[in-house]
């Protein structure tokens, strides 16, 4: 996929239709990000929130790849790889927390998890 996106962006930039495809990738990222934010803020299910976080991270990855391809630089791809690795770890931790919450409360509804209420 990376190679495809990169070749697409490069092709477009070399074909003279400058920034058209880049804009579309950025728009895709922005939409994904907004969906992710909505999911994080609005879903009651903790698992869904975790999935929405993954959406946000992937929106970022698309941005990184798009800019990296635009500048013909592999650094964007490297950063995206790091983000994927970190996201995997984060999801592991997050699911473990959710699992423990479920075990204790038999619920994964975030509205029930308000022990920090001041």
């Amino acid at each position: 996929m990376l190679a495809t996106v990169a070749s697409l962006v490069q092709n477009e930039s070399s074909s003279g239709n400058d920034g058209l495809f880049l804009n579309q990738f950025l728009l895709l990222g922005g939409v994904l990000f907004c969906i992710g934010v909505y999911g994080v803020l609005a879903r009651r299910n903790a698992v869904m929130v975790l999935m929405s976080i993954e959406l946000i991270l992937n929106a970022v990855n698309i941005n990184l790849l798009a800019f990296g391809a635009m500048n013909n630089d592999v650094a964007g791809a490297v950063f995206a790889l790091f983000v994927i690795a970190v996201a995997a770890a984060e999801v592991g931790v997050g699911l473990a927390i959710v699992l423990i919450i479920y075990r204790n409360r038999h619920s994964v509804d975030l509205n029930d998890v308000d022990a920090m209420k001041g």
């Binding site: 994080v40 929130v49 509205n111 998890v113 308000d114 209420k117 001041g118």
Partner: protein, 718 residues
């Protein structure tokens, strides 16, 4: 040696420390160190003297040569200048007569900077001129003889080592005082000899009387020190911030210092002379100082330390000469103090039963002669008398020590009498010195006393100092009489003591003979011109009188008295009459004995003398008594009212202040701040707790919202 004479005081100074640290371990307990040091100092002083004579003679020859050269070139010159030469002898004639005064002898000086302070260099150094060289000889000689004498006199004493250590320190300080270049150095040495005097008077301090006498000497001298410091400070500023003695003198003489400043300085310094040299009215410590061991009395309280005052005046003679107008007046403070002391001291010597006290009052009286001589302007006479007096008075004191060594007492009336038979050596030396003191021709005292009298008769302004000559003659009469009494009570009549007195050992007798010998011949040092061939006349004046810009001899009014047969014979006759009357009174029991019981007037006079003019009573009872009571009461009143008032007031004020502080600041401000901050924190917490709902998504919404706001701001404003 002249330029290195500063080593001489350092030798006994070193021996002081050596004796103090190692003296007790030595076979002779430190005395050998003291004798060796002072002996070496004496030898060096002799060398210095001889070289000084050469130095003076060289200066004289050089002056003569240049004078001849000037005359020679004058003759060789043209007729015009020949006319000038023709006139010259008229001027030159006068200078010829007083030629001795008119060549200059520069003193040998050396100087080191001690420390610098505010632009003023404090220097120590050596000013070696005639009087200093003369005193070097006197001090080291008498000190050496006293050291030898003491090895016998204080043998077996528990503080034998200590005694010799302080003799060394005294010798060092006295020599330092003699050669002092600056007034500051003079003051330091002046105090050092005072401390040594204090320590040695109180050598046997276990007895209350001795330690009292030491304290009295010390405290009386503090009174004089006030004057010393005042005078020296005045001179320091008047002479343009300098401590240098020669500079101060030169400035005093050439008129760069105002007469008022000189007068103030000399009167203040006169106070110091009165305390140190036992002049009326601060003489009271000197007779009490006889509580010390006799060698100490001979060295410190007869020959050397007590003449420090005289020496100081002679050293700063330019200041005194100008300040008191000695050259042109016929009465001045210095002469009056000296004159009163001559008579007052001599009268007191009549009623003393303690042989040393007779000698002490005699010393007071003789020191009066010296001060008087300085007062009338007879500088050389004063120093010559100092010179001769040192020998015969030291001999008398050591003789009295020898006597007391034999009879274990100083009381002439109770424990002496008839000692002529038992102690021939002491007797003869004592007699010779007595004769010298009385002023019998041709012994030392005759020449020096006569010079003082001639000075009083001839010097000064209109009318001269004739009144003081009469004082001197009366003093001579009384000196003769009280010494006859003293000799009678000690050596003639029946022995009134216990046991069998015996002559003292050689270490006591030999110094007596040496001093008695000097008492005979010392007068030769300054034979008057009328009596001696040119080469030996007035040698003392020739060698020892300073001849430089810092001495009044550069002034035209300054003059030395001429020898006068009239005065000499008159004073000798008066002295002999004194001896004769005293002889008749004491030996032959002639005259109205018991007068003091029969006549109220004579009785009163006798009581006044017995009580030493009530000076001690005046000082201890009237002045001290009158001051200490009121001072104590005043202090108590101040304590009760002022200090307690301040303390109580401060306490009350503090209480009030505390209450106010508690009420307003503590309760109001501090507590208000504390409580208010607590309340504010609580209210704030109540408001903010609503934010912490515990709902993660609400937190997240805030996070994103805030991020969005900041991002918007970033885009809009950056």
């Amino acid at each position: 040696m002249l330029e290195n004479a500063w080593i001489i005081p350092l030798i006994p100074a070193a021996s002081f420390f050596l004796i103090l640290f190692f003296g007790k371990k030595l076979p002779r307990k430190g005395s050998e160190l003291g004798i060796a040091a002072v002996g070496l100092a004496f030898v060096l002083a002799l060398v210095t003297n001889v070289q000084w004579f050469t130095h003076v003679n060289d200066a004289e020859h050089k002056a003569e040569e240049t004078e001849q050269e000037a005359v020679g070139t004058g003759h060789a010159a043209t007729g015009e200048s020949a006319a000038v030469v023709q006139e010259e002898p008229k001027d030159g004639h006068e200078t010829e007569e007083v030629e001795g005064h008119h060549f200059e002898v520069q003193p040998e000086t050396k100087e080191w900077t001690w420390f610098e302070n505010g632009g003023v260099d404090i220097k120590v150094g050596m000013l070696l001129d005639g009087p200093a060289v003369m005193m070097l000889f006197v001090v080291t000689l008498v000190s050496l003889l006293v050291h030898i004498y003491s090895t016998d006199y204080v043998a077996g004493d528990r503080r034998y080592t200590h005694f010799f250590a302080f003799l060394s320190l005294f010798t060092a300080s006295m020599l330092g005082l003699i050669m002092a270049k600056s007034t500051l150095q003079l003051i330091v040495c002046w105090e050092l000899v005072g401390v040594c005097s204090f320590v040695l008077i109180g050598h046997w301090w276990e007895e209350k009387a001795n330690s009292d006498a030491a304290l009295k000497a010390f405290i009386t001298n503090r009174v004089g020190d006030v004057g010393l410091l005042t005078g020296m400070i005045t001179l320091f500023f008047a002479a343009g911030q300098t401590f240098d003695i020669a500079t101060i003198n030169a400035k005093a003489l050439d008129g760069s210092i105002t007469h008022t400043a000189l007068l103030v300085a000399s009167l203040a310094l006169l106070l110091a002379v009165m305390s140190k040299s036992g002049q009326f009215i601060l003489h009271t410590w000197l007779p009490d100082a006889m509580a010390g061991p006799t060698p100490v009395s001979a060295l410190i309280h007869a020959a050397t330390m007590v003449v420090a005052g005289i020496y100081m005046v002679g050293r700063l003679y330019g200041v005194f000469y100008e300040g008191l107008s000695i050259g042109v007046s016929s009465v001045n403070a210095l002469a009056v103090v000296g004159g009163v002391t001559v008579i007052g001291g001599a009268l007191l010597a009549f009623v003393q039963n303690d042989i040393k006290k007779v000698l002490a009052y005699s010393t007071v009286s003789q020191l009066g002669y010296m001060v008087m001589a300085l007062g009338v302007g007879a500088w050389t006479a004063a120093f010559f008398h100092l010179f001769t007096h040192a020998f015969f008075k030291a001999c008398l004191f050591l003789g009295s020590g020898s006597v007391s060594h034999a009879v274990h007492s100083f009381d002439m009336k109770k424990d002496m009498g008839g000692l002529k038979k038992w102690m021939p050596h002491t007797f003869w030396t004592f007699m010779v010195s007595t004769a010298a003191l009385i002023g019998i021709l041709p012994l030392a005292g005759f020449w020096s006393k006569d010079e003082i009298l001639a000075g009083a008769y001839q010097l000064g302004g209109a009318g001269n100092y004739k009144a003081f000559m009469i004082v001197g003659v009366v003093g001579a009469f009384m000196t003769a009489a009280y010494m006859t009494r003293c000799v009678y009570l000690t050596f003639f009549g029946e022995f009134r003591g216990h046991g069998h007195p015996h002559e003292s050992g050689p270490r006591i007798v030999v110094p007596l003979y040496i001093l008695a010998g000097l008492a005979v011949v010392a007068g030769v040092a300054n034979l008057p011109a009328a009596l001696a061939p040119g080469s030996v006349e007035l040698r003392f004046e020739h060698f020892y009188e300073p001849k430089a810009a810092y001495f009044p001899s550069i002034l035209p009014v300054f003059d030395a008295p001429e020898f006068s047969w009239g005065i000499a014979l008159f004073s000798t006759a008066i002295g002999l009459i004194g001896v004769g009357l005293a002889y008749l009174w004491y030996f032959k029991k002639a005259g109205p004995h018991g007068l003091s019981e029969r006549s109220a007037l004579a009785g009163t006079g006798y009581r006044v003398l017995q009580n030493k003019y009530y000076f001690d009573w005046l000082y201890t009872d009237v002045i001290v008594g009158a001051t200490k009571g009121p001072i104590a009461r005043a202090a108590y009143w101040v304590n009760q009212n002022v200090i307690d008032g301040i303390v109580n007031g401060a306490g009350r004020f503090a209480t009030l202040l505390g209450r106010l502080t508690y009420k307003y600041i503590d309760q109001g401000v501090v507590d208000g701040a504390v409580l208010g901050s607590g309340a504010a924190a609580e209210e704030g917490g109540q408001i903010f707790r609503k934010l912490t709902s515990g709902k993660v998504q609400q937190y997240g919404a805030l996070l994103f919202g805030a991020t969005a706001v900041f991002a918007g701001a970033l885009i809009l404003f950056v």
